[in-house]
């Protein structure tokens, strides 16, 4: 599988071992972002980096695992509940005068969202490249779910992220 080197700028300490080992000079750029055009994916820089700052990411991802219909139905029910719970937590945070309750309910809204995201990811939305994700965007563009839906953002996502399924 073809891969490309990507540098995590937060971890990079600028020790510059990767600059020294790269056979094509792809790591030596002004903005520290590894040059996609030059990188051949050999992986030497990732091995040389003392900070674990370089990952080799696949250029193309294999298709997502298919999910059973029974699992999707049960998962959908939990997602629906989580959306409701998050709404209640947000509202309680907004309405309360008590700072302690405000903090707890803000934490609850975050927590519920994280659980919900995790569920959504495992229920067919693992990859932004997936057909599922793209069909969503297309649906929203054709039929905006509510007024002022930022169509251009959805369109830009479709343009930028290629599909990995046929």
């Amino acid at each position: 599988m073809k891969k490309l080197a990507v540098r995590n700028l937060r971890l990079c300490t600028k020790d510059c071992l990767c600059l020294y080992v790269c056979p094509v000079g792809a790591t030596d750029t002004e903005n520290s972002v590894i040059d996609k055009e030059k990188c051949t994916g050999c992986g030497v820089c990732a091995q040389a980096c003392p900070s674990g700052a370089i990952s080799m990411v696949p250029l193309e991802y294999p298709p997502q695992q298919q999910k059973a219909e029974t699992v999707l139905t049960a998962s959908r029910a939990v997602c629906q509940n989580k959306a409701g719970q998050e709404g209640i937590a947000r509202q309680l945070a907004e309405e309360t005068e008590d700072d302690a309750l405000y903090r707890l309910m803000s934490a609850a809204a975050k927590s519920i969202r994280l659980v919900h995201e995790d569920l959504s990811r495992e229920s067919g939305y693992m990859l932004p490249q997936s057909k599922n994700a793209r069909e969503r965007l297309q649906g929203w563009i054709q039929e905006p779910p509510a007024p002022d839906f930022p169509r251009e953002a959805a369109q830009e996502l479709l343009d930028r992220i290629p599909c990995n399924e046929s």
């Binding site: 059973a68 139905t73 903090r103 975050k110």
Partner: protein, 211 residues
């Protein structure tokens, strides 16, 4: 007898501690994750009860709240692939859906608690069962984390209902940014008791005044 914490698996062994669990359970908290003693259960081989899937009134159309989580999940997916601009676009969609979601007016803590209880008693067991028969390991893992995080949140909500919010004053509320586990304390736990990430993955939830 041995009592086990449903969140992190910490075991209270009566023999070793020299005190009956029932004597201390009320007002005592798990030393690892902070779960109240009252949610501990006797350690015993878990028997698999067959659950009937709860009735849902899943409307045809997904709610804006569901779309919001779908988009913020994909934003994280982009982030993991170092697609920063794409991640920002999905975040924008997520924020849009969060903003247009109808407000949950007139709800109280009990509404939240009862919804969390329904998940624990019916919806998660049903999902777990579906995942077991489909041999879906991803969803089984989601259930394990989700049930623990939900149980912890429920115990905190119930505590607020019972004794008010004094126990939160003068200390901090932390959320694990990976699994959503909520921890109350001056510092976050060294590792998350649910998903085992290190303390720096915890985010402190700030009060209104400091925003």
């Amino acid at each position: 007898m041995r009592y086990i914490c449903p969140i992190c698996g910490y075991v209270y062994d009566e023999e070793k501690e020299g005190r009956a669990f029932s004597e201390i359970a009320d007002g005592w908290f798990c030393p690892i994750c902070g779960a109240p003693g009252t949610v501990f259960t006797v350690e015993e081989p878990r028997e698999e009860a067959v659950v009937a899937a709860p009735e849902t009134d899943s409307p045809e159309k997904q709610s804006f709240g569901e779309f919001a989580a779908l988009c913020s999940n994909l934003a994280r997916g982009c982030e993991k692939q170092y697609l920063e601009e794409e991640s920002a676009l999905y975040r924008r969609l997520a924020e849009y859906f969060t903003a247009v979601a109808p407000k949950a007016k007139g709800k109280n803590l009990e509404d939240l608690a009862s919804c969390l209880r329904n998940d624990l008693s019916g919806f998660y067991p049903a999902l777990r069962q579906a995942a077991e028969s489909a041999k879906d390991r991803g969803i089984l893992r989601v259930c394990t984390w989700g049930e623990k995080v939900t149980r912890m949140l429920l115990s905190l909500v119930e505590r607020c209902q019972k004794e008010g919010t004094d126990f939160l004053k003068g200390t901090s509320v932390w959320v694990c940014t990976i699994c959503g586990f909520i921890y109350i304390g001056d510092n976050p736990p060294e590792i998350c008791p649910v998903c085992k990430v290190p303390d720096w993955k915890f985010e402190k939830v700030e009060g209104r005044r400091s925003v």
